[in-house]
């Protein structure tokens, strides 16, 4: 096969007209273009993210003092809605949106697999998210008193899980079947590999959440809510996705983003690439948490496997951390905002995993209350948000065709680091109040600090959104195909933004960094 052989589906004229930068609502209805679908996922998820962190701050703020501005039932529902929302309306769709946009480009495909299914998944997710939010706010959250609203919440959640699974199938199928010649699985870019691992774990765990919701709904709707549908136990049955080890499953694509950003912005090939692949794979395996459901298996926290998973999770993260440190030391880091955000994400991931390791140590008694676990949840979700923000900053020029304002990104480095640390660590510190009585008096202060952290994370989401939009503004400097000048993977070989069909002729890939081979 000649070096410039082209598969039929990639035989598109690269000079074709590029799509508009940010899809207009008029063009996006009905489109199956993976770039429009991916962009819309990212935009909507960022908006949900801002709302989600504000809701989290409000539900935490309710704990301060004795004169609460929310009733305890409302605060509880708000907290539960924001917990689930931050995962299913923000983090998973953010990564899925980036995956829908970037994975076809990274593997040299002209489109995502099943483009119409990907579009249908996005619209179903959006519609179901709307139903979930509205129903939750009319006393339909878990344990809510309006029966029909609760049913609507459950149906909305079920719908958005099905939609996310469908979108995941599209991205996974793209990575498995539509790779350009020569791109073997061990040569796929890190983000694509992490989407493969993360997507596979989502496919193996989110259906179990669907099973939980199905049982709650059937009991609530047809059996009077006496068992699974009992108001007091509804959230407990689905809360396992917010706890370790499952919470880590939503960080996996973030590791791929970190590795890709580090490689490009240090201008060097990742040394010992297999170590990164191993770390991401091991991280994925150790994050399978659908079996660890306290509602079904009350003594799960005493289970040796659960405790071992919590401790072992440190290993892949430390290996990954070591690989990144070596890459930064050996390369010539370009001090751009995606690099800073990637480092922040890695630090927060390390903190979340370290907190998780402490949580499983029984003598510390950190599981006596839910506070420490909530702190770990905030750290993990903040890490995922920082990784997504790094990805948005990194691929923003590709998505919008214009250079984003790097100042916003650099500000976001501080905001997300501060938000994650304040939001999560203060709750982790409070979790030790069972051992240090002096911490009881600091309860209100620590909650206020955590609320401020959550508000900062909302601001971080807003800054990521503004950063993306800044690349699309009129007068933004035009982005080159290789926007950073040191791109290594195939997405940097097509114009910014990519035209319909993405690529013209593609050379056979001979290494994980095909663009560097080209330069040689």
């Amino acid at each position: 096969m000649a070096l410039t052989d082209t598969r039929p589906e990639t035989g598109t004229d690269a000079s074709a007209v590029a799509p508009s930068v940010v899809p207009s609502p008029l063009t996006i209805f009905g489109t199956g273009d993976h770039k429009a679908v991916g962009t819309f996922y990212v935009l909507a998820a960022l908006v949900f993210g801002i709302a989600g962190w504000v809701a989290a701050a409000l539900s935490l703020g309710h704990e301060v003092g004795s004169n609460s501005f929310l009733s305890s039932s409302t605060a509880m529902q708000l907290g539960q809605t924001s917990d689930l929302g931050l995962i299913l309306l923000v983090i998973v769709p953010l990564f899925l949106g980036l995956g829908t946009y970037i994975v076809p480009l990274q593997v040299g495909a002209s489109t995502v697999a099943f483009p119409r299914a990907a579009a249908a998944a996005m619209w179903t997710w959006l519609l179901s998210s709307g139903i979930f939010i509205v129903a939750s706010f009319i006393d339909g959250g878990f344990g809510g008193s309006r029966e029909k609203s609760v049913s609507l919440t459950l149906m909305g959640l079920g719908g958005l899980i099905v939609a996310l699974l469908l979108g995941t199938v599209c991205v996974l199928t793209t990575a498995v079947t539509l790779r350009t010649p020569g791109m073997t699985l061990d040569r796929v870019p890190m983000f694509t590999f992490s989407m493969l691992v993360g997507g596979a774990i989502w496919l193996l765990t989110l259906p179990v959440l669907l099973a939980n919701l199905l049982l709650i709904w059937v009991d609530h709707r047809y059996s009077g809510g006496t068992t699974f549908g009992a108001a007091a136990t509804q959230f407990e049955q689905v809360s396992w996705i917010t706890h370790e080890p499952q919470i880590y499953a939503f960080l996996i694509p973030g590791l791929g983003i970190i590795a890709d950003v580090i490689a490009t912005l240090t201008g060097a090939r990742l040394a010992q690439r297999n170590i990164f692949l191993f770390a991401i794979g091991a991280f994925g395996v150790l994050s399978v948490g659908a079996w660890a459901q306290p509602a079904i298996y009350p003594s799960v926290s005493d289970d040796l496997v659960w405790q071992a998973m919590g401790l072992l999770m440190l290993l892949p993260v430390l290996v990954f951390f070591g690989g990144v440190a070596k890459a930064l030391k050996d390369g010539k880091p370009s001090l751009k905002s995606p690099l800073g955000l990637a480092v922040v994400s890695l630090l927060l991931t390390l903190l979340a995993v370290f907190a998780g390791a402490l949580l499983v140590i029984t003598p510390l008694e950190l599981r006596a209350s839910n506070v420490f676990a909530t702190g770990q949840f905030v750290l993990a979700i903040a890490a995922a948000l920082a990784a997504a923000a790094a990805g948005i900053g990194y691929w923003g020029p590709k998505m919008t065709g214009g250079q984003s304002a790097d100042g916003l990104g650099k500000l976001n480095v501080l905001v997300l680091l501060g938000g994650g640390a304040l939001g999560g660590l203060s709750l982790c510190v409070m979790g030790f109040s069972n051992r240090f009585t002096g911490l009881d008096g600091a309860h209100d202060v620590l909650i206020i600090v955590s609320s401020i952290g959550c508000a900062l994370l909302a601001l971080g989401g807003a800054l990521a959104l503004l950063g993306l939009l800044s690349g699309a503004r009129k007068g933004a400097p035009e982005a080159a195909a290789d926007a950073w000048g040191t791109g290594q993977t195939l997405e940097w070989a097509c114009p910014s933004p990519p035209p319909t069909g993405n690529f013209g002729d593609l050379a056979i890939v001979r290494s994980p960094e095909p663009l560097l081979d080209e330069e040689v």
Binding site: M1, R7, P8, A113, F114, A117, L165, L166, T168, V169, C170, L172, T173, V176, T177, L178, L203, L204, T205, L206, P207, V208, L209, L210, A211, N212, L214, L215, V218, D219, Y222, S223, G224, T226, T227, F228, A290, W291, I296, Y297
Partner: protein, 196 residues
């Protein structure tokens, strides 16, 4: 002097997009049932461990209908594979016939399941047992209907002349999903109907 003739270039390997996508979808569907049956088994252990009988007073689960359904679905595996093998040989008539038979066996399974629900005399509001059994068997019927729609759609596409001996991914993909659905029934059969 004869000219040196190079062998023809190998045919471009078609990526089996639909088959891989269907396999992922089947895996996700299978996992829903793994979750449901795991919860079912945990609940049953709890109830039996407390000294009570698993099935409520008056309810019964006969084995004849579940066995008949299992045999029916195993037959459907053969008819589905027959459809795949036939289209692989460009034998369209046999492929249509096999897909039609598969659909009929699917309908027979739905009829038998509803009859079993009638025979069980198990009220959904009778407690955890009713909720679990009806949710699991009902969800399986939903998966069966989805699999039937998949087969029917691929049958219609075959009637439209879309599949050939070389390219019949659609029918293979429908078969993959169908086999997953039968595998799910095997789990239900052993967990709910046999070991009750």
């Amino acid at each position: 002097m004869t000219a040196h003739v190079l062998p023809p270039a190998p045919a471009v390997q078609r990526p089996r997009v639909l088959v891989v996508g269907a396999a992922f979808a089947a895996a996700a569907s299978f996992t829903v049932f793994i979750g449901l049956i795991g919860i079912y088994l945990a609940a049953r252990v709890d109830v039996v461990g407390s000294g009570a009988a698993w099935l409520p007073e008056g309810a019964t689960i006969p084995l004849q209908q579940p066995n008949t359904m299992f045999i029916t679905l195993i037959m459907s595996v053969f008819t589905m594979q027959w459809a795949v093998a036939a289209i692989a040989k460009n034998d369209r008539v046999n492929s249509y016939l096999a897909m039609g038979l598969t659909l009929m066996l699917g309908i027979a399974t739905i009829v038998m399941t509803t009859y079993l629900w009638y025979l069980m005399e198990l009220d959904i509001a009778s407690g955890i047992q009713g909720v679990l059994i009806y949710t699991i068997t009902g969800a399986h019927i939903v998966m069966l209907v989805l699999a039937m729609l998949f087969v029917a759609l691929m049958g219609l596409r075959a009637l439209g002349g879309q599949f050939t001996a070389r390219q019949h991914d659609g029918i293979t993909a429908a078969a993959v999903f169908w086999y997953a659905m039968v595998a799910v029934y095997a789990l239900i059969w052993i967990s709910i109907y046999v070991t009750k």
